[in-house]
């Protein structure tokens, strides 16, 4: 019997999950992860984004980067919908640990437990972790 990965033809749609774990500034991971996501949108795959650990800060409302001389790229998350990227998952525990709630976030998301997110990850074909 063929393995699951042997059954995929050229028109395959795979489940891609981008896992965002880092604060938006301080390191370049959040910005360069977003750049991958925007390119990936052109490939018509089943794309989702997960935000956990300090990665939940990437979606925080009211980011003001004037004092650190960096570009505030958070409005780009609002543009994701226009790229048909609508599955944004945020880990509930990461939010709670940082005193944040869904109302603090700048885009509509699905908040889910660590356990539920782990299950979601298990269902992915490709996970890119930044």
């Amino acid at each position: 019997m063929a393995e699951p990965w042997e059954e995929e033809g050229p028109g395959t749609v795979k489940k891609f999950m981008y896992v965002n774990r880092k604060a938006p500034y301080g390191t370049i991971y959040a910005l360069e992860s977003l750049e991958v996501v925007l390119i990936a949108a052109a490939f018509e795959q089943d794309v989702s984004l997960a935000f956990l650990d300090d990665g939940v800060y990437e979606l925080k409302k009211g980011q003001d980067t004037a004092g650190i001389g960096m570009k505030n790229f958070s409005p780009t998350y609002r543009a994701l919908e226009g790229y048909d990227i609508e599955k944004l998952y945020v880990e509930a525990e990461s939010l709670a640990e940082r005193g944040l709630t869904e109302a603090d976030l700048l885009v509509p998301v699905e908040v889910m437990s660590r356990e539920a997110l782990a299950k979601m990850m298990d269902e992915q074909d490709v996970i890119l972790s930044f």
Binding site: I39, A40, I127, S129, F130
Partner: protein
């Protein structure tokens, strides 16, 4: 199995590139196929031929170049990440009006689409990062 490899950290500073190298080598020795090695974030710095590590240390870039040559591996450096960090091939140096290039043998510079393609084409995309 067909593997894609993503390396997100620079040489020497971080073990990611070493681990990726050892994984890639072991996979080949076990008869697996390496579809592509993609360098992103500071990982692009693995591709500079101008680094001069101490003689009693491993030369990470030369090691990659030799492995690629021996096994005909496609090693791709992300152009957007490379431009930020000063990694240039001859064509890019000319296009950007720079007076030198620094890409090592066996590496080529291309777009993020090559990473997504690896995710689609490979049975597994293995990420080496922080």
């Amino acid at each position: 199995m067909k593997f894609g490899i993503l390396i997100n950290e620079g040489p020497y500073q971080h073990q990611a590139s070493d681990s990726a190298y050892l994984f890639t080598k072991a996979a080949i020795e076990k008869g697996h196929e390496i579809f592509r090695v993609f360098f992103y974030n500071d990982g692009v710095n693995n591709g500079t031929r101008l680094a001069v590590p101490p003689q009693d240390d491993r030369n990470i870039t030369v090691r990659w170049s030799e492995l690629a040559q021996q096994h005909n591996i496609d090693m791709v450096i992300c152009i957007a990440a490379a431009q930020r960090r000063g990694l240039l091939d001859e064509g890019e140096a000319k296009r950007q009006g720079k007076d030198a290039n620094n890409i090592a043998p066996g590496f080529r510079i291309s777009g993020l689409g090559q990473l997504i393609e690896a995710g689609i084409q490979c049975d597994r995309l293995v990420v080496f990062g922080d």
